[in-house]
Amino acid sequence: MNPSERKAGTAGTEVAAAARAVLPVLVGVVPFALVFGAVAAKKGLSPLEVGLMSGMVFAGSAQFAAAQLWTAPAAVGALGLTALLINMRHVLMGMAIAPHLAAFPRPARPLALFVMADENWALAMRRGLAGRLTLAYYGTMGVIMWAVWVLTTTVGAVLGAFIEDPAAYGFDFAFVAVFMSLLRGFWKGRSSLVVWAAAALTAIIVSRLVEGPWYVVAGALAGMAAAWLVRIPEAPAP
C-alpha cells in the first residue's frame, strides 16, 4: 500500500478534477433523464423497472428508443436488437479508448467499459490526449454519471405527467454545447476540418434518409474514411 499512499493527494485531485469536468454534462443529462423516466412510465413501466433498466443498460438513446417501442407484454427480441444496433457506436468508442483502459488494473476494466457512455468517454479521451487517464478520474466520472442517471430516470418515472419537453427550454442544447466544447480538444489543424466535414455531411444525409440512429455510425465511419485518405501521403510507401 506504500506506493499508493504516496499518491493519495494525486488521487484526490484527480477525483476533484473529474467531478468538475462532469458537472456541465449533468446539466444536459438531468432533464433528458427526467423525460426518459416520464416517457417510460407512460408506456407502463414501473419506477422500479425504469431504475433497473437505467442501472443495467445505462445507455440513454437506446433506452429512449426502447421506451418508444415498449408494449405489453414487452417484445424482448426486438428490444434487445434495438439496443444492439443503437449502441453499435460503442464498438468504435471502445477501440479508441482501449489504449487508455489498458493501463487500468485488470479487474477494473470490465466495470470501466460498463460505465462508458458518450459524454464521459469523450471527457476521458480528452484527458488521455492531454496526459494520463487515471482510474480515479475515469471511475469518478463513471460513478457520478451512473448514479445520477439511475436516480433521475427513476424520479422522472415517479413524477411522470409533470415533466415537460426539455427542448421547450433549450435544455437539449446542453448536449450540443458539451460536444462542441469537447471537439475543441480534438482539433488537429486543417486535416480535422476534412474529417469533421465528412462526418457532419454524412450524418446529416443519413439521418434524413434512414430511420433510427444509423447516422451516428455512418458519420463516424465517414470521418474515419476521410482521416484514412488525408493521411495517406504521410505514410511511408510500401
Partner: protein, 100 residues
Amino acid sequence: MSLDPVNLAAIVVMAAATYLTRITGYWLAGRIALTGPARAAVDAIPASVLVAVIAPQIAGGGAAGAAAAILTALAAWRGPMVLAVAVGIASAALFRNLLG
C-alpha cells in the same frame, strides 16, 4: 413498485446486448495492431462520433437552431464548458421564442 417478469427479461436482454457493444471494441483493439492510415482512422473516431451526433440536430433546427449553434460554437471555442452550456441553453430558448 411492480416488476413484471417479461419486462425484466427485456431489460436483461437489452443490458446484455449493450454490454456486448461496450466490450467488443476493447477486445478488437487488443488483437489488431494499427499503423499508418488505419491508426489515423481510429484516432479520428472521437471527433467523428461527436460531430455525427450533433450535426443532424443542428441541421434540423431551422434558423433558430443555426443561430443558437453559432453562438454556442463561439462560446465553446473561447470559453470553458460551463459557459458553453449556459450560452447553448439560453440562446436555444431565446432564438426558438424569437424565430421559431
